[in-house]
Amino acid sequence: MATSIAVSRFESDQSPLQALQIVPGILLLALVGYAGKFLEKFLNTYAKAHHWTFPNIEYVLWAILIGLVISNVLTMPKIFQSGIATYEFWLKVGIVLLGSRFVLADVLKLGGISLALVVVEISLSLLLMHFLGRAFKLPPKLTSLLAVGSSICGVSAIIAAKGAIDADDEDSTFAISAILALGALALFTFPLIGHGLHLSDNVFGLWAGLGVDNTAEATATGALYSDAAGKIAVLAKTARNAMIGFVVLAYAIYWAKRGQAGAVTNKAAFLWNKFPKFVLGFLLISLLVSFHTFTKDQVASLGNLSKWAFLLTFAGVGLRTNLREMSKQGLRPFVVGALGEVLIAALTFGLVLGANRIWGL
């Protein structure tokens, strides 16, 4: 069941009639997202009119909270499920369009710093998760999946690695549930820590992009802090996502050598197959903006389109998080994941502070 919630993915080869099944879920995403946006504006206006001191709660948080309430208090009718699963698709559309808010020089500078930090973060996270997996006597393939999920990009990386290393469905369900539960926790803890430490938008965004596993949660965590932090979180997370092919390939070769997975015959095709194409789309839009292909107003419109796409994503993050189902998945993988995440969060925080001191983010 958890698999159907966590991994229910929108397939691109559906017939037109099947494709219609996603409409109710997309409408629900739009409704929940817009309700979040409406609540932010309404509460701010109301508080101001009545001279109340009320904290500005961003639409991102409202959309996630409304989604969480719906998915955990009500029983989600089946008719909505395939449409809700499209939130990942909207996330990728939003990331590509967000490329319009970066000129190439920014991408090269911040993306270069992110990439350098990503390499260190991935290496240390993989080592750490393997150490914890061994210490807690988790099955080796489950440890591999947790390591891939927590070092690169959550659910997508686990799904990519599952096929490549022939892991069990049960192991991937455990790993996905742990990563999603921890992502949900990060959503609320990272911004609190960031505000407590008065981190700048750049530092927080980089930390969220490097420290939060799933792309949707990393984007939401950054956006919860501020619009600018959300932008940087997406850039850092995109650099991390770009590494998915290399790490999954290394695991595929490792398990194939042990005779427990199919051999990789064409490494270049494998890498291309696993490479997230939205990274290329993001770079292309950024390149077009850098060469002034769009006017200033058009760039603003592209940025707003990206925000609308993210709005559907944030609603989806809340709607697909079913805490009851996650709690059924057993404690050990969750404890290993949680320990790993806390250490990775501390490690990435140290890395970002170091980078800030060296390069002045």
Binding site: P276, G281, F294, W308
Partner: protein, 41 residues
């Protein structure tokens, strides 16, 4: 015959990632062409 059709269909099947890029680029093109004048937030 049926398997050939399904094979062809499989060959032209695009990943979701690619569809997301196509949609985003199509939207960007429509903004560039002035079909969408101003997207509000």
């Amino acid at each position: 015959m049926a398997s050939k059709i399904s094979e062809n269909r499989h060959r032209f099947k695009l990943a979701l990632d690619t569809w997301a890029v196509i949609l985003a680029l199509a939207l960007a093109l429509m903004v560039r062409a002035g079909i969408f004048k101003k997207i509000p937030w």
